[in-house]
């Protein structure tokens, strides 16, 4: 029941906003739909805590501690982003970058995107997972090209083709998976595609087929995670789309894609009886981290800078999932949470900063503290948090990942430390002049919504200082499931 509401509210919102999206009150409706989703997600969490994992609708949907935590996170960030997008899009309209019709498209696609991600997280069916991931891609393509500028159309096209091809590979992987399981679980009905059934028989699946399937699934869904060398779409899509879309792409979609990869990894590891899938994740993760850090140095656009930082952090999380074991998985889950909270907060602040300065180029953004102290502090604190400074939560998770790496894979630690150090220098040298200094920019026409920024940063701070025992238990349960 709760699940039905979680999936139903965004769908309903998408339909309503498709008609009323150009209305003056549409942003409030968008917020209301997101709030309803969040409340339903909270009810779902309480239900799962009380009664444990469950399957719904003839096992088509499946809720366990691993995905319910991501559902809650997705609904929460979806809600705060809707809050942020209300004044942000009004200012964009004020600046003449979007008209009423585009806003209708924007609001409707935003809710559809949320619905697609929630279906992808909640489904038990590997085929439906694929369909939902594809739907999430299609809805965001239209969001990325919202401004209809040359650059945004180019970014959207690149996103479409690269992710389209990536996701086609994932479909081939899914077909192979089905092929491997069909003999064991029977072709009748859909049992051979249901993750719970696959998980139950994973030890008896044919290793050669599953190995090949996993390669396709990893590369396919990995494209959407932004893993190198298929990360090219990510910075363009983040930089050229509206900022609320950058925030949900970075904070949520990457997580959902990584969730799909991890689900596949659990099956593959059980079937192949070796650590090869984990090693592959570690390799891709490290490569992405290194490559992203290298590109961080050369960025001049504020949103591109933080987009590359997302690739870096996704690389770190992928590496941690690759190491496996309760501690590394725990750290990876924590890092997923704090990264998506911090990164969306940064995008909120960066979006308003770019609006204030009238440009996304970082050498054009100066003296934020002088124009609007809240935007300036938001960007500064967000940047410090994402760089892993104590006492923020990112420090805790990175520390856990580093120490685990030191114990189990010492060769990887220097790489990680160098990457983190370079990222620190690259981002800090850019953020510092943007925040301090003089400027002649004027304040924004609508007061910016910075409550989400500080709420996110406060949560990251709390997670760094004190982890509530209930939450820790929950993470531990999820980490054990991933194995």
């Amino acid at each position: 029941m709760e699940l039905l509401l979680v999936l139903g509210f965004p769908l309903l919102g998408a339909v309503l906003l498709a008609f009323a999206g150009a209305h003056r009150r549409a942003p409030e409706l968008n917020v209301a739909a997101s709030l309803a989703t969040l409340l339903a997600a909270a009810a779902l969490v309480l239900r799962v805590i009380r009664t444990g994992p469950m399957t719904v609708a003839q096992e088509q949907f499946f809720i366990d501690p691993f995905n319910v935590f991501l559902i809650a996170l997705t609904a929460f960030v979806g809600f705060t982003t809707a809050l942020f997008s209300r004044p942000y899009m009004r200012i964009e309209e004020h600046h003449g970058r979007v008209n009423a019709q585009r806003l209708r498209l924007y609001h409707s696609m935003y809710q559809l995107f949320m619905a697609a991600m929630l279906v992808a997280l909640a489904t038990n069916n590997m085929g439906l997972l694929w369909v939902a991931m594809e739907a999430a891609t299609l809805s965001t393509v239209l969001l990325v090209s919202l401004y209809r500028t040359r650059a945004s159309i180019e970014a959207a096209w690149k996103y479409f083709i690269l992710c389209g091809v990536g996701i086609a590979l994932a479909l081939f992987g899914t077909i192979l998976l089905y092929f491997a399981a069909e003999g064991l679980l029977g072709g009748e009905g859909m049992r051979a595609l249901l993750w719970t059934h696959l998980d139950a028989v994973k030890g008896r699946l044919e290793p050669t087929v599953i190995g090949l399937a996993f390669v396709f699934l990893l590369v396919g869904y990995g494209t959407k995670v932004g893993l190198a060398p298929l990360h090219n779409w990510l910075p363009d899509a983040h930089a050229e789309g509206p900022t609320p879309v950058s925030a949900v792409l970075s904070g949520l979609l990457l997580n959902v894609a990584l969730y799909a990869v991890v689900r596949c990894k659990i099956l593959a590891e059980g079937a192949i009886h070796s650590a090869l899938p984990g090693r592959m994740l570690m390799g891709f993760g490290l490569l992405s981290t290194l490559l992203a850090v290298f590109f961080l140095w050369r960025q001049r656009d504020i949103k591109r800078l933080f987009a590359y930082s997302s690739i870096e952090h996704m690389g770190i999380v992928t590496f941690a999932f690759g190491m496996g074991g309760p501690l590394a998985n725990f750290a990876a889950l924590l890092h997923m949470t704090v990264h998506s909270l911090t990164k969306s907060a940064i995008f909120f602040a960066a979006g308003h900063a770019a609006q204030t300065a009238g440009t996304q180029r970082m050498d054009g953004i100066r003296g934020l503290l002088a124009v609007s102290p809240t935007i300036g502090w938001g960007l500064m604190l967000g940047a410090l948090a994402i760089l892993g400074l104590p006492p923020f939560g990112v420090f805790a998770s990175e520390y856990l990942i580093l120490t685990t790496a030191m114990r189990e894979h010492p060769w990887a630690t220097p790489v990680l430390i160098v990457a983190l150090g370079v990222a620190f220098a690259a981002i800090f040298r850019r953020v510092q002049p943007m925040v301090f200094g003089d400027t002649d920019a004027r304040p924004l026409p609508h007061s910016p919504a910075l409550l989400p920024v500080f709420a996110h940063i406060a949560m990251v701070l709390v997670l760094g200082l004190y982890m509530p025992p209930a939450l820790a238990d929950w993470y531990r349960l999820a980490a054990r499931l991933i194995g």
């Binding site: 085929g127 594809e134 959207a156 077909i175 089905y178």
Partner: protein
């Protein structure tokens, strides 16, 4: 069981036809003919799905064949042809670099695909076990086409050819995915083409051309 070998042979003929069509698409310059070739691929897919449905007595594959016929032979080519006409690019031919090299790379891909599919084909119990290699080859050739082509419309056609290869892989290894999933995939593809269509007009409005070489502003600086 005496009917099986003949059906299998027929299926192999169809699979070979699919592969030949992929090669033809790889080197076809005219956009309009490319769409026609895509429709032919859809028709061959329909025929092979029907054949598998008949030999293996699987009723749900008849539905699947009907779906292929409507979407891949009817709806999509019709949509694309209409788009091509409205964009006024139906007589456009794009300069293809180095056709012989393209063919040689294509051949290498086919050999690679067969090598990769060998161990899996050996495990399949379906009447279609030998065709997985061809399916994989069709997928890889579509990839090659995506990389080699320069205009927006032809890239989309390459994308749809990729989808055809995936569909053939699904029917040839497993007698097709469950119906609900197939419907979802077909829906996604259809919506995808609509979105592509919107894009064509946006690209042309902004760049005065569908040549993707103009889309190279976003580079790392």
């Amino acid at each position: 069981m005496s009917a099986l070998p003949f059906a299998t042979q027929l299926l192999h003929v169809l699979a070979a036809g699919l592969l030949l069509l992929s090669f033809a698409m790889l080197t076809q310059r005219r956009t309009r003919r490319l769409v026609v070739l895509l429709a032919w691929q859809g028709a061959v897919l329909t025929a092979s799905t029907l054949l598998i449905a008949a030999t293996a007595h699987l009723p749900h594959l008849y539905w699947s064949a009907a779906l292929t016929l409507t979407v891949k032979v009817g709806l999509l080519p019709w949509l694309l042809l209409r788009l091509v006409r409205r964009l006024g690019v139906e007589r456009d031919s794009e300069p293809l670099v180095n056709v012989p090299t393209l063919m040689l790379v294509g051949l290498a891909l086919v050999i690679f695909a067969f090598g990769l599919a060998q161990p899996i084909s050996a495990l399949a119990t379906t009447v279609t076990r030998q065709t997985l290699g061809i399916a994989l080859a069709v997928i890889l050739l579509a990839f090659l086409m995506l990389i080699a082509r320069r205009t927006a419309v032809t890239q989309v056609i390459g994308f749809l050819a990729l989808e055809n290869g995936l569909f053939f892989a699904a029917t040839s290894t497993t007698y097709g995915m469950p119906m609900v999933i197939e419907l979802g995939i077909a829906l996604d593809v259809l919506v995808g083409v609509f979105v592509f269509g919107i894009f064509f007009f946006q690209i042309r409005e902004q760049f005065d051309s569908l040549d993707l070489q103009h889309l190279e502003a976003l580079k790392e600086d």
